[in-house]
Amino acid sequence: MTDTQWETYEVFHQTKKGDAHIHVGSVHAPDPQMALQLARDQFARRLKCTSLWVVPSRCVTATNYQDEDFFAQTTDKSYRDPKAFGAPDKLDPHAD
């Protein structure tokens, strides 16, 4: 039997122009245009939205949860942490 499921698209949502697009979930759709429309119904009706991206889930290459060593800090690397100065939450690249 053929698989009649639509493929999934990952949905990225932007609240205001210039902000990062943030991953909010996924939708099933037959093609990218329908994916955008369905994503609009799913994620942009209540949230303020200026832009949506959809990406076929199969295009995402991901790490494996089983491969914990990939992120492991096996030796002490605390000397690399910038602890001696505070950084504001919002960095302004044009400030003096």
Binding site: P30, D31, Q33
Partner: protein
């Protein structure tokens, strides 16, 4: 009823026109809402629930414009009238059928709404003109959605084509009832309130024929003297308040809670 109503415009005709549009939206909105929890795909379930709310929202816009002309609140018009006073076309009253029928009906309706609202955004009656322009912005996305489904399902697989064609065969004669003439239409045309159903139907047909043909779906239609002519009997009666048990059942459902607690507030 309304004291500052422009004296040169036909108040009765405007009331009839607004009520027909309000009832169409209310009834189709309810039919769409019947998919909540049942649509074949979760995403479409949510999409149809959204569309249902939008259509009912549009009916509220028209009912609100009617309030100064009828002295009735939108709730009174939606919940206190008997189904025999509704002036929706019969098309929107039919049961939701399968998803193919719902998709085709929604498409045929959205295409008609676009044509009607575009015309009304040039209406000589100010409140109608403004409201039409506002609703048109939202309706454009309904049309994109339903047209997108028709274009894809029309010739996707043997089964989707068969079901969509069956839906078109059933829905098309019903859909022609959207353009059933209303009382006072000549006056509305003369005064620039509304261009008339004949004009709208013609424009609608041109759009519908090209989209359905593009989706490999056939229509009972013939070209005569450069004009497209439907070769089937339109289902009329709704605008003259001649309805079937389908609408009676629907109105019973819609009004059930309201009637349990008349005047209740929440």
């Amino acid at each position: 009823m309304q004291t500052n109503f422009p004296s040169q415009l036909p108040q009765d005709g405007i009331r009839t026109l607004l009520l027909a549009m309000a009832d169409d939206e209310l009834v189709l909105g309810h039919r769409d809402s019947e998919w909540t929890g049942y649509a074949p795909i979760l995403e479409e379930d949510i999409a149809f629930s959204n569309i249902a709310q939008d259509e009912i929202g549009h009916s509220l816009v028209w009912f609100t414009l009617l309030t100064p002309l009828t002295g009735l609140t939108p709730d009174q018009m939606a919940f206190e009238r008997s189904y025999e006073e509704f002036t929706c076309c019969r098309f929107v009253t039919h049961p939701k059928g399968d998803f193919a029928y719902t998709t085709v009906r929604q498409y045929l309706f959205d295409e008609a709404e676009r044509v009607r609202l575009t015309a009304l955004s040039g209406s000589s009656y100010g409140p109608l003109k403004e409201a039409a322009a506002k609703i048109l912005r939202e309706e454009a996305y309904h049309l994109m959605h339903s047209k997108g489904l028709v274009e894809r399902l029309g010739d996707a697989t043997e089964e989707s084509h068969r079901r969509m064609q069956a839906a078109v065969d059933l829905a098309f004669p019903q859909a022609l009832g959207m353009f059933e003439p209303i009382d006072g239409e000549a006056e509305l045309q003369k005064t620039g309130v509304f261009p008339g159903n004949v004009t709208l139907e013609h424009e609608w047909l041109n759009n519908v024929v090209s989209v359905l043909r593009g989706a490999s779906l056939k229509l009972p239609i013939q070209q005569m003297n450069g004009k497209l002519k439907p070769q089937c009997k339109p289902e009329l009666g709704g605008r003259k308040k001649s309805h079937t048990a389908h609408l009676q059942q629907l109105v019973d459902d819609v009004q059930l809670v309201y009637r349990m607690a008349p005047g209740g507030k929440w």
